[in-house]
């Protein structure tokens, strides 16, 4: 951790990981808010409007933290990764600028109206405000994923005369095949976070026997949407994501799976610890042939292991990559099991009385956050040693004049500031959940900050 490059990497990893705690919930909740507002509009039942208002308050807190921690991301490309920005800014600057122009203006304009303009807008108008906030946040998600997808699998570019990477096809950049699948996978991950959080709060109300009507609504929404999301996360989106990696990032696939030796009938490692020095998996628990089948739909297919690639093409943190991938997949499997079980109980009309299931739903709440984070670590560590896959190495992308000392200074500054944000966030979230969907009248929200959360 002494080289400036390592500090720059940690700097970005820390700030982006912390940032993404918040958008994954707001993007997921945005969809669920549209669901609740649609219910309210169709049934005319005030219950759903109150439910939506409660979640809008949670949304507002998370959105605010998401915005303030998001601003540094756009600037860090230039501050810490100047060589990368100089080379690739003409391409990825497009998607980043479009995010500002098309989604941030939309979100910031309509969120205030959504949070504080319900009376003024009327029923239909308020539904539209919710929908436009959803649209803005999901559009923002697309443009960011398209940026990352271009770094994973660059398309629509050419190398210009001065060595800079130039855009040659706008649609090539925007409709990158990788971006479409990665987007689907990412957004469904966000929906899962939204569903688990909503179900967990609902389960908490049912278990503590308070606001039980809301508890049932929240658990129901979290489970019904969540079961679809958890299945889609595995197939087709997760599956396609894996196929794209198998096609375009072969060393990454081998490292993710801990496959050191090329072989037919390649096994899928369920457990085991990669021993990079001795090039083997310790204490392996494997399903024979499964990796061949998942990758090529043929049990006997030959899968390339790390031995096929020179070491300087290997991802540089194989254990981290291997574990984050396994954590993501393992949790994804658990989510399917939990959600299907809950669905079964719902179908047999036992879900709301089944205390053990409610306990499970409540305690699951950190898991989707871990799974989403592990997924992003898999994507980003898996891209190594490349910053832009096949085009530019991470080692060549950092700012040449920003030394390790200055990078540490700002990294520590962010760590301190974000610790403070985390404490405030926990406090305010706990308070909102404690106040519940029918807070005492005194609790007027945001005294002076109507459009408050961006």
């Amino acid at each position: 951790m002494n080289s400036a490059l390592d500090v720059h990497r940690l700097h970005f990893a820390f700030t982006i990981t912390f940032h993404y705690i918040f958008p994954q919930l707001t993007m997921g909740l945005a969809l669920l808010l549209v669901y609740l507002k649609t219910k309210a509009l169709r049934t005319g039942d005030e219950h759903y409007n109150k439910a939506a208002r409660f979640w809008a308050r949670i949304f507002g807190i998370n959105f605010a933290v998401g915005v303030v921690t998001g601003i540094p991301m756009e600037f860090q490309f230039g501050t810490n990764w100047a060589e990368f920005s100089k080379a690739a800014g003409g391409v990825i600057g497009q998607t980043l600028a479009m995010e500002g122009v098309f989604s941030f203006f939309l979100e910031s304009s309509f969120l205030g109206l959504f949070l504080f303009g319900e009376k003024k807008l009327g029923r239909i108008g308020h539904w539209w405000a919710a929908f436009l906030v959803f649209l803005g946040s999901w559009l923002s998600g697309y443009l960011i994923v398209a940026t990352d997808a271009w770094m994973q699998h660059p398309t629509g570019y050419a190398i210009g005369a001065n060595g800079a990477i130039e855009l040659t096809s706008f649609w090539g950049l925007l409709l990158n095949r990788w971006a479409l699948w990665q987007y689907a996978h990412t957004m469904i991950g966000a929906v899962q976070t939204g569903c688990f959080v909503m179900a967990a709060v609902g389960a908490f109300y049912l278990l503590t026997k308070r606001d039980e009507a809301y508890g049932r609504t929240f658990v129901k929404a979290g489970v019904l949407v969540g079961v679809v999301a958890s299945l889609l996360q595995l197939f087709p989106t997760g599956d396609m994501q894996g196929k794209l990696i198998a096609e375009y990032q072969q060393p990454t696939l081998a490292a993710m799976e801990g496959l050191f030796e090329s072989q037919p009938n390649a096994p899928l490692a369920i457990l085991g610890q990669p021993d990079v020095q001795n090039r083997r998996l310790d204490n392996p628990l494997q399903i024979p042939g499964m990796l061949s089948f998942l990758t090529y739909r043929k049990w006997t297919a030959h899968v390339k292991g790390l031995d096929r690639f020179p070491e300087d093409l290997w991802p540089d943190r194989i254990p981290l990559l291997y574990y984050s991938y396994h954590v993501m997949v393992g949790l994804g499997t658990i989510f399917i099991a939990v959600q299907l079980m809950a669905l079964l109980l719902y179908w047999r009309k036992k879900l709301y009385q089944s205390r053990w299931m409610l306990w499970v739903l409540m305690l699951c709440v950190p898991l989707p956050y871990i799974a989403n984070t592990a997924g992003w670590i898999t994507a980003e560590v898996g891209r190594q040693p490349w910053l832009i896959y096949g085009l530019m190495r991470t080692a060549h992308g950092a700012s040449p004049r920003v030394g390790a000392g200055n990078a540490w200074f700002t990294l520590i500054g962010f760590m301190g500031l974000y610790s403070l944000l985390a404490i405030l966030w926990c406090f305010l979230m706990g308070r909102e959940i404690h106040l519940g969907p029918e807070p005492p009248v005194m609790h007027t929200h945001g005294s002076a900050t109507p459009a408050a959360a961006d």
């Binding site: 756009e74 600057g93 500002g100 700002t410 405030l424 305010l428």
Partner: protein
Amino acid sequence: MATVWFCLVALMVAMYVVLDGFDLGTGAIHLLVAKTDDERRQVLASIGPVWDGNEVWLLAAGGTLYFAFPQLYASGFSGFYLPLMMVLWLLILRGIAIEFRGHLHSLVWEPVWDFLFCVSSLLLAVFYGAALGNVVRGVPLDGSGYFFEPLWTNFRLGAETGILDWYTISVGVLALMALVMHGSLWVQMKTTGAVSQRAGHVGGAAFWAVTVLTVVVTVVSFSVQPQIKTNFARWPAGYVFPVLAVAGAVGVKSFMAKRNERNAFLSSCIYLAGMLTSVVFGVYPMVLPARNPEYSLTIDTAKAGAYGLKIGLIWWVFGMLLATGYFVFVYRSFAGKVTAGQSEGGHKS
């Protein structure tokens, strides 16, 4: 095409300065013009529905700068590493101060956020001014196209400059005074009663500081950055920008005397836009002047590929039309004054 993008980025930055400028200025005078909790809510309500959209102009301008002039984005942002990171911290603190204040009512809750809101707004104004000062003065770029400035060296305008020297500090103070004036006029226009009155007094005092500092800094800038003189000599039509600034300043004074709060605020917008465009015009075609002129970044050395600039223009125009639509919608639904009681429980909802 590069010149077109130079103008568009300048336009976006000007939009940011004029729009976020008034809510930064509002923050800077927050503790001065609002004494009670009720009054402070009134001040916050005057920017509540719009400050966040205003700040988006910074992100949109940053993104546009990134794809139109990648080399400028890379050199500038990494060179201004330390102050830029501090600006980010201030933006974070300011954002949560505005957001979190209203969640709780306690004698140990609101004062913290009021203080943070005020201090962060104030410091941001100084930082932005100092940044502009750095651009005018030039930075220690070398043949590699990069530089790294420490926060300060010896506070002189030598070859080894820091972010802060006597020139950039004076621009920072001017920026603070200008935004204090701008914010005061906004608060005066958007509020009633004691708050509006106090804001008027602060605005009046700030006006004189702005006038004196504008004259001093302008005179000094001509000697600090010789390109300014060259440009005005070469394209006399460029005088329209400083004339605009002067007209704005005169407008502020005369409309304040006539108690026309709206026009006084609009004049202040014109003053800020005039000042900023004068600077931008003065350094053109440089985008980042170097202390050693041969290393300066110009629109041609910093620009992105031709195809990207062309396609960008199409979506940019489309997106800006949409954004303008949202802004008109939001500002119209937020027209009129905020009274002390009205700020309770969210604005006019």
